[in-house]
């Protein structure tokens, strides 16, 4: 189906594992089992089972993906919707276990939780900080230590003591981002670039991420925007239909992707 195939994948053979390798995918495949018709109830299941008619088709979200990402790299992943970009992030963050192949990740992974997921509207901002921090795997003590920083970064003032249902959506997003960014992770996962809050807050977010990078954090950034890819990332991969189409310097990957684009 591809009209303009990249004649030569830019690079394909990963370097050997070293202490500088933060993420490594070895022939990773992820399979979703999609039932033909969604079986929503036990009764339906029992009936179908008796008739011997449970069929699903396999959908391979990732196929034979081999990648290697080094320390302190900002690595971009580009591709169309449904190409498997987010699935890569899910495999790195251990949400999905690879069906085939092997994944190695070093250090602490910080997923960027869809902001506000896991918040409870009846709890106060303060209580939600502790709940959300715990969801991100932080201990009570760690959250206490960073609480003042979160408070300052989210800039909610007196609202921190009010229930979350009284917050505007921008305030919820700010609080969510502040909790997520309170600790320097070894690997940071970003799904699309952030569009949180106003211009000033967005700048603050970008500065925070930049300071992580300067400090050695590896960033895995998923995007479908070429200019974001080229300005932020040095290395990149183009994923199409679950396969790596090419890997290499982001400029080259961007060119390949742009020329292919119908």
């Amino acid at each position: 189906m591809s009209l303009h195939t990249v004649s030569e994948p830019l690079t394909g053979v990963p370097a050997p594992w070293s202490a500088e390798t933060m993420i490594r995918f070895e022939h990773v495949a992820v399979r979703y089992r999609v039932p033909h018709e969604r079986i929503g109830s036990f009764k339906e299941y029992a009936i179908r089972r008796l008739r011997g008619r449970i069929d699903h088709h396999d959908f391979w979200a990732l196929r034979d993906v081999t990648l290697q990402i080094q320390r302190a790299e900002i690595f971009g992943i580009i591709g169309r919707n449904g190409a498997g970009k987010s699935t890569i992030l899910k495999v790195v963050s251990r949400v999905l276990h690879p069906t085939q192949g092997r994944v190695l990740v070093q250090g602490r992974v910080a997923p960027l939780l869809e902001l506000g997921a896991g918040f409870h509207p009846e709890l106060t901002g303060r209580e939600n900080v502790f709940l959300n921090g715990a969801l991100l795997g932080r201990s009570q003590r760690e959250i206490k230590e960073r609480f003042d920083w979160v408070l300052e970064f989210a800039d909610l003032g007196e609202f921190i003591a009010a229930p979350l249902r009284t917050y505007s959506s921008g305030m919820v997003a700010r609080l969510g981002f502040a909790v997520a960014m309170a600790w320097k992770p070894d690997v940071l996962l970003l799904d699309e670039i952030l569009a949180v809050g106003d211009e000033a807050f967005q700048r603050k977010c970008r500065e925070r991420i930049a300071s992580f990078c300067a400090d050695g954090t590896t960033v895995l950034l998923v995007t479908h925007d070429l200019s974001t890819l080229q300005t932020l990332c040095r290395q990149a991969a183009w994923i199409d239909q679950g396969k790596v189409r090419c890997v290499g310097p982001s400029a080259a990957v961007a060119t390949a992707y742009a020329t292919w684009q119908p």
Binding site: A19, E20, Y32, R33, I39, G40, S41, F42, K43, Y45, K90, V91, S93, R94, V95, L96, H97, P98, G101, R102, V103, L104, V105, Q106, G107, R108, V109, P111, L113, E114, A117, G118, H120, E122, L123, E127, F130, L131, A134, L135, L136, G137, R138, S139, Q140, P163, D186
Partner: protein, 274 residues
């Protein structure tokens, strides 16, 4: 510095049954937060708050006493009898039901971040435990009111609670692993729960069951043995026998082991399913 970093290798994971246990330990603060959240929310929007946790079984007890005290008039201190049963049953019913519901709620999170999959079930049982301990307060009042003495046998209560909690967690995990695939299990379970309650001597005295059925009905019912761990020391003022204790412990441990194994072995699939 590289050596100090924890690393994840998808090929070298401990068996799921063990891995889940280690992860749940690591996320114990999350479990605490979830329990805290559930208890807090309960009183946030109501005037009486936590008092409801105490009034609930008390109200049930009053209604049942009014309805049945003439029927079961021969039962000594019927309010104490029925309340000791209700506390146990409420714990089982609430914890298992919320464990299932929470997993569906948490499903949205399982798609995005890694969490040990058992946290929600453990937290549900934890919330149930808080409520159980709270409801011991009105229970003590009812005992005092009816002139039933509190005997030293009540000291066995921590053991009873532990075994009941293990059994409940096992059952909750077992049900949750089914509910992920078939949401209507939750509906079906409510019916089963009701039938099960009437097959367990919660609100009626054991003697009203015809002797011919009694042995089968009670001995084959795991909840009967666990219930007795509460009723014997609290109502009858007797120590449960060693054989009884061993049987109840076996029931609790086996149920827990089955539920935990079944749940953790499928937990990897949940992210695809929930």
């Amino acid at each position: 510095m590289a050596d100090t970093l924890s690393s994840y290798d998808s090929d070298r994971r401990p068996p799921p049954v063990v891995e889940e246990f280690l992860q749940a330990m690591r996320y114990r603060d999350l479990i605490r937060q979830l329990v805290r959240r559930d208890v807090l929310i309960r009183y946030k929007r109501s005037l009486l708050g936590v008092v409801w946790t105490m009034l609930n079984p008390l109200g049930m007890m009053i209604v049942l006493t009014l309805a049945f005290s003439s029927l079961f008039g021969t039962t000594r201190a019927y309010p104490v009898y029925v309340l000791s049963g209700l506390i146990v049953w409420t714990f089982l019913a609430q914890s298992t039901t919320t464990a299932m519901a929470q997993l569906t709620w948490g499903g949205a999170l399982f798609h995005r971040i890694y969490l040990p999959r058992t946290t929600f079930a453990i937290a549900s049982v934890g919330t149930g435990l808080v409520n159980l301990v709270l409801s011991l307060v009105p229970f003590g009042l009812v005992m005092a009111f009816t002139g039933s003495p509190l005997r030293p046998t009540a000291l066995i209560l921590p053991v009873s609670i532990l075994l009941l909690a293990l059994f409940t967690l096992g059952l909750g995990l077992f049900l949750s692993s089914l509910a992920v695939y078939f949401p209507d299990i939750a509906e079906m379970y409510q019916i089963v729960l009701l039938a099960w309650m009437y097959l367990t001597p919660i609100i009626y005295p054991e003697e009203i069951v015809p002797p011919a059925y009694r042995w089968w009905m009670f001995n084959l019912n795991p909840m009967y043995h666990l219930l007795q761990l509460f009723r014997l020391p609290l109502y009858d003022g007797r120590w449960p026998g060693l054989a009884h204790l061993a049987l109840a412990a076996a029931i609790a441990l086996v149920t827990f082991a089955i539920g935990w194994t079944m749940f953790t072995r499928r937990a990897d699939e949940f992210a695809y399913r929930v």
